[in-house]
Symmetry: C2
Subunit: 495 residues, 2 copies
């Protein structure tokens, strides 16, 4: 029994006004109103399949390949299953004989288990497992034609998301401080800046030239911001782009490095789509490679440039979103600053160990001659080609439709077509208290079950309307449905 006096007036429940205002202001459209409505419809389908004019929700709102039946890579899953249950190593013979496992997955699991210290159930060091960071460094070195990388510069994170939050929570200092972000952008960035009460300084990507980036446009934004007493300290670049699907040319990347050197901007290079390159004309260059080349050609000028590059197991051909694997490479930062990143990581104790192992497996596939080599290579190729074809097909469909204009897909897993609406649509949207692109996406969802995200969620030039769709969904049926819906919609709302 409590000894306290019970003669009191109970206090009220918390209300929104009692919460952190920055959290309230943050928005995240990828899981916003339309996806939420889609979840409701899915529940409705489960209860009463006849109540809607389609049999399932097609989730094209989020890059989540394995939700759409993309198969995980066999080798990596074999290895991680052994990490979870190392007793399997004692059954090697029977497992290999029965073709449940390839022998090299068992070998690789032993090596990884050693690196990890024996159990995926133990916390690792906050920076991540040393041996895994070494594998990542080797991968980067190879990717960048021999430019050395060091495990000391690698920080293992729970997905790329966590890397972004560590960086921004350290580098954002409040309303006198700004971060340059591309528009359109992946909404994690605007949401985080709102959370950290720091100014988002938009630089617009140019749709007409395939969503390319213009350094002069960026520099004028920097100058404007400085005039307004907001010091830009970071520039975010997403390459290949989300939601645009574009890939940066090396000369544009050089421009960005120049601006970083001149204005002391940290380059936050979101390179999670580095393997998703579908264009013959474009190649992926890492910002690190571009930076190192500039440093070689120009003594001193680029010595102080600070670059943070992030990568993830969620995308590429791996598509292991739910495993929450990712890493951060820090280049050019002072030791004292790196230690602060490490402190932030240590507050979360460590990144999930199997996610760390997944990163190791993503960047270090079986090598030639090993039993799993051919299988793994073919699986990777198959996924790559499938994604490429799906992007192509959706793009071709959009080409045929009235009122849609779409840039050719170069990379990532998205198309971000522009929509031209009649006055009738604009009025109808207004009546529904929605933006026209939201209105279109709601209508698409309600009549076809296809869930996409309106351009408003990513930012777009005023007076233009877009939507973002992934091209991960298998089959052509959903594309046909979309086509019919679109034609009817445009007929219905013709001026």
């Amino acid at each position: 029994m409590t000894k306290l006096d019970l003669n009191f007036e109970p206090a009220e429940q918390l209300d929104l006004k009692d919460l952190n205002e920055h959290v309230l202001k943050a928005e995240y459209a990828i899981r916003g109103a339309i996806p939420t409505r889609a979840e409701q419809i899915q529940d409705q389908i489960n209860l009463d399949p006849e109540s809607v004019p389609f049999d399932k929700i097609t989730t094209a709102n989020i890059g989540n390949p394995q939700q759409l039946q993309q198969k995980p890579l066999t080798f990596s899953r074999q290895v991680v299953s052994i990490l979870q249950y190392p007793e399997l190593l004692k059954h090697k013979e029977i497992l290999v004989q029965s073709r449940a496992y390839n022998s090299d997955s068992l070998d690789r699991a032993s090596i990884l288990l050693d690196k990890i210290g024996g159990s995926v159930g133990a916390y690792s060091s906050s920076q991540g497992v040393q041996g895994i960071r070494q594998t990542v460094a080797n991968y980067i070195t190879k990717r960048d034609d021999g430019e050395p990388a060091s495990p000391n510069d690698i920080f293992m994170t729970d997905g790329a998301t966590r890397a972004v939050t560590y960086l921004l929570s350290l580098l954002c200092r409040g309303p006198q401080n700004g971060v340059l972000i591309p528009i359109p952008q992946y909404p994690l960035y605007t949401a985080s800046l709102t959370l950290y009460d720091t100014v988002a300084i938009p630089y617009y990507l140019d749709e007409k030239s395939g969503w390319s980036t213009d350094a002069n446009e960026i520099e004028s934004e920097i100058k404007k911001s400085i005039e307004n007493n907001v010091k830009p300290s970071v520039i975010v670049v997403i390459n290949p782009g989300n939601p645009t699907g574009s890939i940066l040319k090396p000369e544009v990347m050089e421009d960005i490095v120049v601006l970083a050197a001149k204005y002391g901007l940290v380059i936050l290079a979101d390179e999670v789509y580095q393997e998703n390159v579908f264009s013959e004309e474009r190649k992926f260059y890492s910002f690190k490679k571009i930076l190192r080349d500039l440093q070689k050609r120009h003594t001193k000028l680029f010595d102080n440039v600070q670059l943070a590059s992030i990568h993830s197991t969620s995308k590429g051909v791996f598509g292991e979103c739910g495993q929450r694997g990712g890493y951060l490479e820090l280049i050019g930062f002072k030791k004292s600053v790196r230690e602060e990143i490490l402190k932030l990581a240590s507050l979360s104790i460590c990144a999930v160990i199997t996610g760390q192992a997944m990163v190791d497996l993503m960047v270090n596939p079986p090598s030639e001659g090993q039993p799993s080599y051919e299988m793994d290579k073919n699986e990777r190729l198959h996924i790559h080609n499938t994604l490429k074809q799906r992007g192509e097909l959706l793009y071709q469909t959009f080409q045929q439709l009235e009122g849609i204009e779409c840039q050719k897909p170069q990379g990532a897993m998205y198309l971000f077509p522009r929509l031209y609406f009649s006055q009738k649509v604009i009025n109808a949207a207004k009546d529904a208290d929605l933006q026209p692109d939201e209105f279109y996406c709601h209508a698409l969802l309600e009549s076809t079950g296809i869930c996409v995200v309106p351009g408003t969620g990513f930012g777009q030039e005023e007076g233009t309307w877009h939507l973002r769709t992934t091209f991960l969904a298998p089959g052509t049926e959903w594309i046909q449905k979309w086509k019919s819906f679109h034609q009817e919609f445009y007929k219905k709302y013709a001026d």
Copy 2:
């Protein structure tokens, strides 16, 4: 080639002054100076084993059971290995025959895979897998003698840590706002409050009475705080306690609920050690159970109380720290407030799926009659008893030592003994620019390799000195070493 003018003065690298000041101020001792030094020594041992007077580091600074050879529970690891590699289901017969797997782990894996939607590599909904939240709700209902729990109130998180950061980042509103925390406390709390620029309002636990909590002491802190224009909005309670190892009596918990009702405090109940109960005299009661009982006995008075309870796969007998599994149960919050928590979760997309599965397995072991039942029960019991014995042994050792006073362990996995130091120690510490407990812990590390955390890292009453050690390390050799060290240290520094 960049088209920009290269005739510029390069900007400086970032310095500490350019970073978020709140991050700089945050401290996290569990992975602070002493553990960092321990890692250096470990590296040194790897290079030159002869260079230090011991052969390994004993990590007693962090509750990380599997780093210290605690075995994971077989059933749960069997299940999760299949989740990672569902192809194993096709080899059921041979796996069961060869005794690599029990048949019920394969069955359970199928059920879980269904719940998850087919692949642990897909993002789940941001709140977590519905079917897993249902399992958690069932567990809570049973634990609390039938008090109903709902999957809608459960949020799956990456370890308990992420649940704490969601809650505090939402509920902390700046320097006019305060959070009551026990002293000593788990330093995640003070560090988070520093990050969110919110006042930590300490309430001291009473060492003499086994680290119990006194409601009058708390109420006077609340009043003082309100007088100083700092509104307390949350009270953190860690039960069983870290670092104290104490377990709260139900009447004290009732007092806390009364204060919560009276002053509108959210109760943040950190109940990650709910299974680590070693005392015959104390039982674990959840805050939810206590709250529901009060609500039944007193109409209306407790209707507005808001409780957030967190749990984790990292502790208990599970000890699956590296899997980063955890959950949050929200009770009594308005819908609008819950939606903000969900928004924060959606910014991180979702908790790692295998961690979510681990929570399911932790709270829902094989049931009687299933092939794995006996094995799982025995493994759980064995770990429980081992921990109990280790705690007991360390406690007995401390009882024998001069200058140490230790409360009897009731729960969790720590002892937090008080150290009495001579003036000589205090002076020597001062010369080394350390607190006396830091000085002792450094000396302990350098001569024995035993890594513990000084009381300063958790907070302690002024003029008192403590240290926190886990009792997870196996064997008695390290305890003997500690004993010898302690005796020599006290001899050396006798006044």
